[in-house]
Each structure stands twice: as structure tokens, then as C-alpha cells.
Amino acid sequence: MTPPAIHTQDLTKIYTVSEREAGMRAAVQSLVRRRTEEVRAVDGISFDLAPGEVVGFLGPNGAGKTTTLKMLSGLLHPSAGALSVLGHTPWKREKDFLRRITLVMGQRNQLVWDIPAADSFELNRAIYRLPAGDFKRTVDELTELLDLGPLLKKPVRNLSLGERMKCEIAAALLHRPQVVFLDEPTIGLDVTMQRRIRAFFAGYNQRFGATILLTSHYMNDVEALCRRVIVIHEGRLLFDGDLASLVQRFTSHKTVVVQLEICPDNLDAYGEVVSCEDGLATLRVPKAETPRVTARLLADLPVIDLTVEDPPIEEVIERVFANSFPEAEKP
């Protein structure tokens, strides 16, 4: 068995934050004695990623996703627990380690604002000591995959957000990292650009066998790229498994969409009516009852078309976070 690309065991990060009440009195008091509070941003999470895996890392804001990514990439020192990436201890930030990973954050820039991206690429070539031949090949490849051609010669500040993001991603991948951490790589981008970037990472993963750990607010990103997802909430691991079983596990209802001639009055006899317009009805039906309800619908009403769907993944995730699902805490 090949060793995992990423291994964490009871990974924990505790921040000590000082707190005080608003107001003058409290300000003076805090000069003398600071009250501090411990915040467990990441609270004992364990998971392994095999080389070449693409895993979605999900959780609401403040769940500990970015803190975890920062520990994995070596920017943060864990408070407790074991951690290894490609056999290295990230926080030591050994050069061999840094040459094999990358962290792409939506807002952070690799690129120098006032000059063309191509010049920043040259700088990265020197930083990562890339042989000229390899470098050129990679740049050509990334240029083709991300359609960078006309962008590379313009000063970065003249690029649109999406164009800049594409150049940022290229800059972060010039050294062909084996492990890629993506923190909201498509944030703020339009749908077409999001799709392009998703397709690009899928391609990158296939071509180079890179391990990718991705956080995103857009479930489309996750659905398109990741078979496996890890869900954390308040620093704890809620779920680790494939996307389909996440949906299975956390949905109690299915969505039944029926096309009828007109909307009948007694539709709520079949399930909770989400909407009905021009004969197109959407019903929310308990999972166990779905076969019986669909049979009754087909028998009772002049059905033109009928589909049974799982609720959208966003809704599932929302429900995961809304309920604490105690049984889900044991992965």
C-alpha cells in the first residue's frame, strides 16, 4: 500500500485570543490584566488522503477549513496532533517540502501587481529553480489549459478578476506541485470562469496525479471535482466519505417533480407542495414513502412526466450544519 499523501491524526489548533468589553473602563483594565480565551479552531480531526485523490473540504464560515489548510501547508503550527504531508512535517517548512506543494487562496497574490504575469512567472522559475526546458513546457501547457495567451503580457492590474485568478493559479502551479491546497479558488468568478477552472483542476489532477484538497462555497465545484468530501463544523469532523453517501445519509426527503395538465387542488395529499405552476408541481416527500407516493401519483393523476431527485447538494449541506446529527460525529 502506498503511504498517504496527507495524514492527520487528532489535528488540533487552539488560538488564544484576548477579549475585553467595549468602553474606556475595560480598555484601562485590559492594560493591567488581559483576559484571554481559548478558541479551538480545529478540534482533533483525523483523515488521510491517498496520492492523486481530489477531496472537497466543506464547512460553514469559521468551521476551521482555512486553519486546517494553513497547518497542512506549513503556515501554522498545530497545537496538538500528528500531521504529515508527503512525508514532511509542514511547519518545519523544509525547502524540499515547499517545492512540492502549493496553496492557492482566492485573495492572496503570487503576482506582482504592476508588471505582466510573465515576469512574475520568471521570478517563480528562479525561486523554484526550474530548469529552462521544464519551465517552458509547463508555461505552454498552463497557457493552453487556462487560455492565458493574451493575458501574460499585460500588467496584472489591468486584468479582470477572473483573468487575474487564472494567472494566479498558473503561477502557483509552475513548479508542478504534487499536493495542491485550494482555498476558494473560484470565489467571485462568473459561472463560465468557474466551470473553466474546475475543468482545469480536473485535468491537472489527471495529468500529473496531484493530490488536491479543495474548499469552496460553490457546491458545483465540489460536485464536479470530488468524489470524496470531508465535512467539518466547529473544528470537528462531521463526515468523511463519498459525496453520494453524504446525500444519502443526511437527506430524509426526496424531491418529486410532476408535470400535469393543471395544478389539482388536492396535491398536498401526496406530500409537502413546494410549488405548482402551470401544472409543474414540486413535492417534498419523505424518503421511505417515495415509491408509494409516486405510484399513487401515476395511478390517480394524468401525469405527463415525473422525476424523483435528491435535493440539491447545497440544501443537504445546509441541513448538515443546521442539525448537529450526533450519530454523524463518529465517522
Partner: protein
């Protein structure tokens, strides 16, 4: 070594390109660097004229020579890293630097040197113009003029290392501006920027010589003006070398400790 040379080359090109984008602000910044010594020069010239043509052994022409050379030396050894570091820590741009397999100080050195390439001709031209206006008396001693070059180079290295180390204070406190002010006031008095050190009381002179201050600006100036004996010059070089070694050690310690703090709290 080869790789480092390539890194400097690439960083150098980027810094130059960036600087050329900001020509106007560069000119304004240079103006500040020129104005300060000129103001002191005018003040001291008046003081010396009022004192019958000389103060503490400095004639009006000596003052002119002192402050014009000082302007050039200050420019050649200047760094802005202490102002920039707070911004880096606060804005998190340091994180990107920490993820690169190369020490971030190299980028700073290259950037600083490239800015000097752009601005030094301007400063030298200004020195020439000021010389025509203020008529400095300069007694060039050939060996001292030659020794001046390594003295300036070492002064630059020392000032860079000291200020880079002090800049790391940004890891511990979010308000380093007051700390920076304190340092620059000390620089103003103890490095000879406000007046030649020999005009200060002996205690101040001793402090300036025991601390790195004299060796980052005043020493090369005194050397070029022909105020130092060969013996004093050798002592000066030794002091510079000693402080460079010390500040290298300091830099290493502070940088490591700073990164540890950074990776404990913010990343």
C-alpha cells in the same frame, strides 16, 4: 550560488520594472532625501557664520562638504524595510513569502539594490548642483577615497541587517510605528545625520561608536572628508565587521522566533 544569482537577477528585473511604474513617487521620495541634509546644511552654515566662520572646527565650507557627502551616503545605505514590514504582517502578504522555498530577505536585498540603481544618478547629480551652490571645501586624500567605497558597502550591509532585524518587531506588536520613530530619532542624532558627531558631547560620541549608529552613516562620511587617520579607519572597518557578524546572529534569532510567533497565531 548560481541559483541565488538567478534569483537576484529575476527579482532585480521585477523591482526595476515596478519602480519605473512609480517614477513620480520615486522623485518625491528622493526630494525628501535631499531636503533634509540641505536644511541642516543651511542651519549649520548660518550658525558657523554667526560664530565667526567656524563652529567646533567646522568652517562653512566644511559643513557644506559634510552634508553633501552625508546625503550621498545616507542614500546609498537607506532601507525602508521597517516601514514596510508592519504592512506585510498585517496584510498577510508574508504568508505567500513563507511558502516559497527561499528566504524572503533575498527579495528585499534585490529590491533595495535595484532602487539604488535607479535613484543614485539623481542623487549624484543633486550633489553636484549643491556643490556649485554651497561651495564645499573637500580635501580628498587618495587612500581614504579608495577606502570610502568598501566603507559605504559595509555600512549598507550593516544598516540593512540591523533594520531588517528590527523590522521583525512587527511579529510581536501590531503597532510598530512608535518603535520605528524611536529608532529613527536615535539614528538622527547618533549616526551624524543632524550634525557631525564631533560636535556632540563625548558621552554621545561614545554611545554612537559603541552602538552601530556611527558605522552605518558617519564613518564613511568622516573617511571621505579626510578626517580619519589610517589607525581610526582600521578600527572603523573592524567595528563594521564586528557589528555585521552580531547583527547576522541577531537577524537569525529574531527571524526564527518571529516566524514561530506568526505561525502560532495568524499564519
Amino acid at each position: 550560488m548560481m541559483a541565488l544569482a538567478q534569483l537576484y537577477q529575476a527579482q532585480f528585473r521585477i523591482s526595476l520594472a515596478t519602480m519605473i511604474q512609480y517614477r513620480a513617487s520615486l522623485v518625491i521620495w528622493l526630494l525628501g532625501q535631499v531636503l533634509e541634509p540641505v536644511i541642516y546644511l543651511i542651519v549649520w552654515s548660518n550658525v558657523s557664520a554667526a560664530g565667526g566662520g567656524s563652529v567646533g572646527g567646522y568652517t562653512t565650507g566644511d559643513f557644506a562638504a559634510y552634508f553633501i557627502v552625508l546625503m550621498v551616503v545616507n542614500h546609498l545605505t537607506y532601507t525602508w524595510i521597517m516601514w514596510e514590514y508592519e504592512y506585510r504582517v498585517r496584510e498577510g502578504t508574508l504568508s505567500a513569502a513563507l511558502l516559497r522555498p527561499v528566504h524572503p530577505i533575498h527579495a528585499d536585498v534585490a529590491e533595495n539594490l535595484s532602487s539604488k540603481v535607479v535613484s543614485t544618478p539623481g542623487i549624484l547629480l543633486t550633489a553636484l548642483v549643491l556643490s556649485l551652490i554651497f561651495r564645499p571645501t573637500l580635501h580628498l586624500v587618495p587612500w581614504a577615497a579608495v577606502a570610502f567605497l568598501p566603507a559605504v558597502a559595509l555600512a549598507f550591509v550593516l544598516r540593512f541587517l540591523v533594520e531588517w532585524s528590527l523590522a521583525q518587531a512587527a511579529f510581536w506588536t501590531t503597532r510598530v510605528t512608535s518603535l520605528n520613530q524611536l529608532f529613527f530619532v536615535a539614528m538622527l542624532f547618533l549616526s551624524g545625520q543632524m550634525a557631525p558627531l564631533t560636535l556632540f558631547p563625548p558621552a554621545v560620541q561614545t554611545a554612537a561608536a559603541l552602538l552601530p549608529f556611527r558605522w552605518v552613516i558617519s564613518f564613511p562620511v568622516e573617511l571621505l572628508l579626510g578626517n580619519l587617520t589610517p589607525q581610526e579607519t582600521i578600527t572603523g572597518f573592524a567595528a563594521q565587521a564586528g557589528w555585521i557578524v552580531l547583527s547576522l546572529v541577531l537577524l537569525r534569532v529574531v527571524w526564527r522566533a518571529g516566524v514561530r510567533v506568526y505561525s502560532a497565531v495568524s499564519g
